[in-house]
């Protein structure tokens, strides 16, 4: 009975994870510019990965409970992969957004752009420098 409940939890976790991964793919295709695509590409894949790795962790704990030494290794290493994803994913998104704004990509249809004052001067300076080289 307990085994059946754990099976159902694992399947529900897998379905949620796959659904959010699909949402990330469609968001990438549907949104108009870099920043909104980053919203879809970062949040949805991180959330989906939490549920997919979570299902594998539950499977490992179940194997450990049933007396297999492999189960503990599976659960702990998967938790390590989950921590790596959680630490690196938002930092990577931050780096991409910063690089996009510094290389001159404007947000499409923006109501307000507070960063333009800071980066506008350096972008102009870089363009003048490039033209001098030519």
């Amino acid at each position: 009975m307990l085994g059946l409940i754990i099976d159902i939890i694992v399947y529900i976790f897998l379905i949620i994870g796959v659904f959010f991964s699909f949402l990330a793919g469609f968001g990438l295709l549907r949104f108009p510019d870099v920043y909104t695509r980053l919203h879809a590409g970062t949040k949805c894949t991180t959330f989906g990965s939490i549920f997919i790795t979570g299902s594998v962790i539950i499977l490992g704990l179940k194997m450990w409970y049933l007396g297999s030494a492999d189960g503990s290794v599976l659960a702990i290493h998967t938790a390590g992969a989950l921590i790596a994803i959680l630490l690196t994913n938002p930092t990577g998104a931050h780096a991409i957004a910063r690089a996009a704004h510094k290389s001159g990509v404007k947000p499409v249809g923006a109501v307000v752009d507070g960063l333009d004052k800071v980066n506008g001067k350096t972008i102009k300076y870089q363009k003048e420098k490039m033209e001098e080289k030519k």
Binding site: L4, D7, Y11, V18, V34, T45, L59, T88, V105
Partner: protein, 89 residues
């Protein structure tokens, strides 16, 4: 009790379709940052599918590969972003 192996293979096929959606964005993307966003998404989905592979075939080494792949792909994303940003390293 259904065997886990078949379920994991179905999940892997679904994740493959997500990767194909991201590859369309990498090919279409009008600017370079768009392509990096697609690449970053592909990296995260590949990590979770490696974990699923490890659980389906009961091979722990695949999950170790996933951890190393996560850290290396993070560093490569940072380097491409730094290159686009310009300036000194």
């Amino acid at each position: 009790m259904i065997d886990y192996f078949n379920v994991y293979i179905i999940v892997l096929i679904a994740l493959l379709i997500c990767v194909i959606l991201a590859i369309i964005r990498v090919v279409l993307g009008p600017t370079a940052p768009d392509r990096i966003v697609g690449l970053d998404t592909i990296n995260t989905i590949v990590i979770s599918s490696m974990v699923i592979f490890g659980a389906a075939f009961r091979e722990i080494i695949y999950i170790d590969v996933a951890i190393v792949y996560a850290l290396l792909s993070f560093i490569s994303t940072l380097f491409i972003a730094k290159y686009l940003e310009g300036g000194d390293f």
